[in-house]
Assembly symmetry: C2
Homo-oligomer: 687 residues x 2
């Protein structure tokens, strides 16, 4: 493939005719170029991943500091391929030079399961005689095998089968009609599928059998709602329009909005990756974060009966948040003026494929930004906020994860995740005891307890890469009530503990002390407060990992043992449960525990550090979550503290401003379209 | 006052010509009628409050069950008046019968400080010779006394002055120019004001003096921003319109929206009161909550130096969230189609006064309600959510509290509070050590650490008044890793503890176990899950009360000692820090601690109960909070669990719906106004 064409196509994809930004995801042409380079030397492979091998941070910093003279980081592809016999190849291909940099067989691991890998299983399972036999036992005749479905999961880890054969487990369901919600009809057995030979090698069958449910369907599609009386017709439209366009700009994949600037990357594992986030502070572009992403997650289920312990999906590391991303629709997924970005991936055969509208970028009104009235004279300033949202949605079999990276005008970055989709379900007999491990959400449907634990990877760059993390707890002051130093007992302060080494950097949450973590640049002091410039992690949905120490999930999902880990930066440490997650045994634990164990006394004080934060929810299902779950939100904030010398959004035009001397300003900015709700009200009441 | 006119005016105020709903706030006419009835017998009073004396619950339940035959609850006024010598009168006036029901002098208490009480102080302080002397000491000459301002707070409690004289403390500030933000120039001394005699009786002067700051002003008004380069001009309008009107209806003060119905009350203390909240479950109006309100709050400051211990405002109980309510503006405070409601109060002189647009009711788009795609064929349903918001904003001297009661289509009720406004500040000398009790947010400005602790009063009515509260913790299952019962260690469940007595009903928060509280009707069992119908309190911003046990704040703000208290319902228990809060010593602690101590073994199992929840934030100020604070949000949810037999909002029309058999429905519902952000993008990408 000619380098010229490569450059041209890549440039086009980035919306410019120049070369792609070094952090841009590989274009379709680049993906196919990488495949072609590999194929010249290696045959009979199917491709698992061809993605940007991100430039080393020092190279990127050098180039950003002096783009004219410093060498431009090469375009490099990170390649994962699979050969016959579940052989796994990890390779690095330099696209700029058109050559393979490294290529090796990696033993004892299995790369993630792609959407194509998933699609293969169902048809094979339906034709397998042992599966047909099991279906017969629970009441499904052979002629109904087209009504049998499976969600093929990675096997997680099963000590009976080990790591060398690439495996999937098939969670089985039934649909009386093709449009019925299959999660209403879970089947009680679980085939194990060999992804190399494409055969069912084992079936886990429970001791107590559970015939397929005869309950009526429990659907949420339009036909079902119409049959139950129809959709409600009392919702009047809420129109959101931006007649003058949006307030953000895109230069390739670099987004500018208000004072923010950020490069928007995307990969098959993490989905959205935000890079080189800066905030323009009165003319100075101050670095804030080098890289933000959801780096991993795990969803352990709480039923100890075999083989449910295998249900603990690492949705990012075992399937890929990028690979599972939805193609979004205007007005459905987001309203207003939307900018979409596509995502290109490799397929098994080595061709590039694109998910249209994978990333959504839009603004929303965000209520009041700030307000104050003087009680003496009602002089008042009120300023409205807006936010900019970079989002994607991925479907992990039954569940949907909606990921919203939100930029606020006050310097806050918010990560919001909404969980929707459908509960994972298992069969139960009438009158069967759930033992508290799940809830009967519909007759015959046992939805097991589970946790959604996400790992946010924060690479801080608070006025530069040398940062220090402090754990901060609200604490009572010394001195008993009645003492001279604390007579009335009201003294309290922020107790800060510096995390000096990677070993010290493993922290648990404490809701009682409103615990937060501060990422500070101790070399730069706020001139007013005399405190280091800081961004603070404020996160309140931080459950403990419930699977027990030493158990399967605890071993495999080491990142989830603590609310926070802090490590010294390494270019190679992106994936906190390991580069390849499926079929890891957890002995030893991949990713974070291994990196920290290698050098627990490594300094994380005033150096380039990464903060890993595990947060999420514990979900005890109930019938209102079924057959499709109303979105459950969770959120966290990264907030500037002692970073600015004043409120950084005072220059946002107010909706209304009056001062005691009687001057009124900004009244003209009041939105003229808002109206009173009812005709019999007077037409306007604006000040 | 003729009863006829009363009925007519009250009927008009309620938007109907019938009599007011028994829970409607008193109309202007009713307030003045109550004053007239009192005046016939008592002279020389000024009025502190004339508000609805809420009907007894049993009377209300009887009337609601059979409005045609059961007696209609009388319109009754709850009157607080103050006579010469700080004498306090509590009275009850039956407006229906036109007579005083009870009237008494209440000893040893002081009612809240009204806005009028606040307004009186500044002028008197400015003319006081001792204040002028103190101003001179710190650098303000007598001719500049018109530049001296004060925020008159209640004194809280000061043991030197006791309870019998009505007192205020004057937090002192300076404005070089009338339009300057005074919080940039706090003064170091604190006059104590006798509200009965209108004189300064004492001044608290610190040992170390702090001359008034000579720093330049730190303003956020339009002139200041213009002088610094002007407002940004890169924000394009986001228009929100509802051309066909709103989707809610008002019948007097009873709001209907989607399946919800709620009576919207308002009083001078709590502000918004939501009563008789029901959810229409497929034709059955099921009671959910009888009454929801923010019943109290306290804002303790953490500086132990005298007299800062007095800074711990009970903004609701000492000033009144209703009295301090802002008059809201279309397009400024909320956008779209808005319905406002006014609020009528008594003034000192006994006349009725009205705050226009005190309550805002509007709908907002709320993103995705639910979504699921089938990975096999991309068949997909996506449905957009909206929410209905009932809000008010009150200004407590320096701070603004924005209170949003949010109804969701899925049966969830959310309370969101945004804090904005200005930090309370105190003077500091250059180089002075804050000792960690505060932060220098601008030269010479010390913003002390503080907490905002709110008390949510929840009167549940989960399918009827007899309810039971359970504390729920996520817990690991029994059996060590490797054991037969928990081989892989993954067992976990919801550990529920019934709160049986008021003494047991005092609970602390536990973030580690994701602790929640469930309000259940154990008499009514979900037919699928076999669990009692429940609403769950999910609240994650639950700091510990930091002032120490036995200290001033701990004694006065008994409600804040625990995250949750549960009491047996009593008509008279509305105010968890007592009916009259200013100058309570906390010996004994008023409100919740006293009620519980009276009978700690009172059963709260399967009876009419009230749950009191204290939540909030601990605020360690930083310069970006100044000179006006970007809104800081906090939120909590009341969620149905095992209340419905399925997702209760499946009948909301989808934006898009397709099924595996190929049928597509609902596509026509896609909002046709959303557009791509940039002209060079293709015009539409809707499925």
């Amino acid at each position: 493939m000619a380098l010229d064409r490569l450059k041209q196509v890549a440039g086009h994809a980035a919306g410019t005719m120049g070369p792609p930004h070094p952090l841009d995801p590989l274009s379709e042409a680049e993906i196919e170029a990488a495949v072609a380079i590999v194929r010249k030397e290696y045959a009979n492979l199917h491709f698992n991943a061809v993605a940007l091998w991100e430039p080393r941070k020092t190279d990127m910093f050098a180039w950003l500091a002096d783009p004219k003279n410093a060498p431009r980081p090469h375009r490099v592809a990170d390649v994962v391929a699979i050969g016959k016999g579940s052989k796994v190849f990890d390779g690095v291909v330099d696209l700029t030079e058109g050559k393979i940099v490294s290529w090796k067989i990696t033993q004892g691991v299995q790369p993630l399961i792609t959407m194509e890998d998933l699609q293969i299983v169902e048809g094979i399972v339906r034709r397998d005689p042992k599966v047909i036999e099991q279906c017969g036992i629970i009441g499904i005749p052979p002629e109904d095998m087209d009504k049998v479905y499976c969600d093929p999961w990675t096997i997680g880890y099963d000590e009976r089968f080990g790591t060398s054969i690439r495996l999937q487990q098939a969670l089985m369901y039934y649909r009386p009609h093709i449009d019925d919600c299959q999660y209403t009809y879970p089947l009680d057995f679980c085939p194990v599928f060999n992804a190399d030979t494409h055969e069912v090698i084992h079936i886990d069958v429970p001791k107590v059998r559970r015939p397929v449910s005869k309950a009526p369907p429990n659907n949420y599609h339009a036909a079902a709602i119409e049959a139950e009386g129809g959709f409600r017709n009392d919702l009047k439209p809420i129109n959101i329009t931006q007649p003058e366009g949006v307030s953000f700009k895109m230069d390739g994949r670099v987004l500018s909005w208000q004072n923010w600037k950020v490069h928007i990357g995307f990969n098959y594992r993490e989905g959205i990756v935000l890079n080189n986030i800066t905030f323009n502070d009165k003319g100075t572009e101050r670095p804030v974060f080098w890289r933000l992403s959801l780096a991993e997650m795990v969803v352990p289920y709480g039923n100890p009966e075999h083989p449910h312990q295998r249900k603990h999906a690492f949705d990012l590391g075992e399937y890929g948040g990028g690979y599972m991303t939805n193609s979004l629709s205007l007005g459905c997924d987001c309203k207003g003026a939307i900018h979409y970005m596509d995502a290109a991936f490799v397929n098994r055969a080595g061709a590039a494929e694109t998910i249209k509208n994978a990333i959504c970028i839009h603004e929303e009104d965000a209520g009041i930004l700030f307000k104050h009235s003087d009680f003496r004279d009602n002089s008042c300033t009120v300023t409205r906020a807006r936010k900019l949202i970079v989002s994607h949605i991925f479907t992990a079999a039954n569940y949907e994860y909606c990921v919203y990276w939100i930029f606020h005008q006050d310097g806050t970055i918010q990560l919001e995740i909404k969980l929707t989709g459908i509960l994972n379900t298992y069969a139960m007999n009438e009158g069967e005891d759930t033992h508290g491990w799940g809830t009967e959400v519909y007759p015959g449907v046992n939805a097991h307890n589970h946790q959604h634990l996400f790992c946010l990877r924060v690479d801080p760059n608070i006025d530069g890469p040398n940062n220090t993390v402090f754990q901060v707890d609200a604490a009572r002051g010394p001195g008993e009530v009645g003492s001279a130093e604390n007579k009335y007992g009201n003294a309290f302060y922020a107790a800060k503990k510096k995390l000096s080494t990677a070993g010290e950097g493993m922290c648990d949450y404490n809701g009682e002390t409103s615990r937060t973590w501060e990422m500070a640049n101790t070399n730069k002091i706020n001139p007013y407060s005399k405190k280091p410039v800081t961004y603070k992690l404020v996160s309140r949905e931080v459950p403990t990992l419930l699977p027990k120490e030493g158990g399967l999930v605890w071993k495999r999902a080491g990142f989830a043992r603590h609310a926070v880990h802090v490590t010294k930066y390494s270019d190679d440490q992106i994936h906190p449960a390991g580069r390849h997650v499926p079929q890891t045994s957890g002995e030893p634990s991949q990713g974070l525990p291994m990196w920290i164990a290698q050098n627990p006394s490594a300094s994380i004080d005033n150096t380039d550090v990464v903060l890993w934060h595990t947060f999420g929810i514990t979900h005890f299902p109930s019938p209102e979550d079924f057959p499709v779950m109303p979105a459950e939100p969770m959120t966290l904030l990264l907030r500037p503290r002692n970073f600015f010398t004043k409120n950084p959004c005072l220059d946002v035009p107010p909706s209304y401003c009056s001062v005691p001397s009687g001057v009124k300003q900004g009244g003209a900015l009041v939105d003229q379209l808002s109206r009173l709700a009812f005709d019999d009200e007077k037409k306007s009441c604006c000040k």
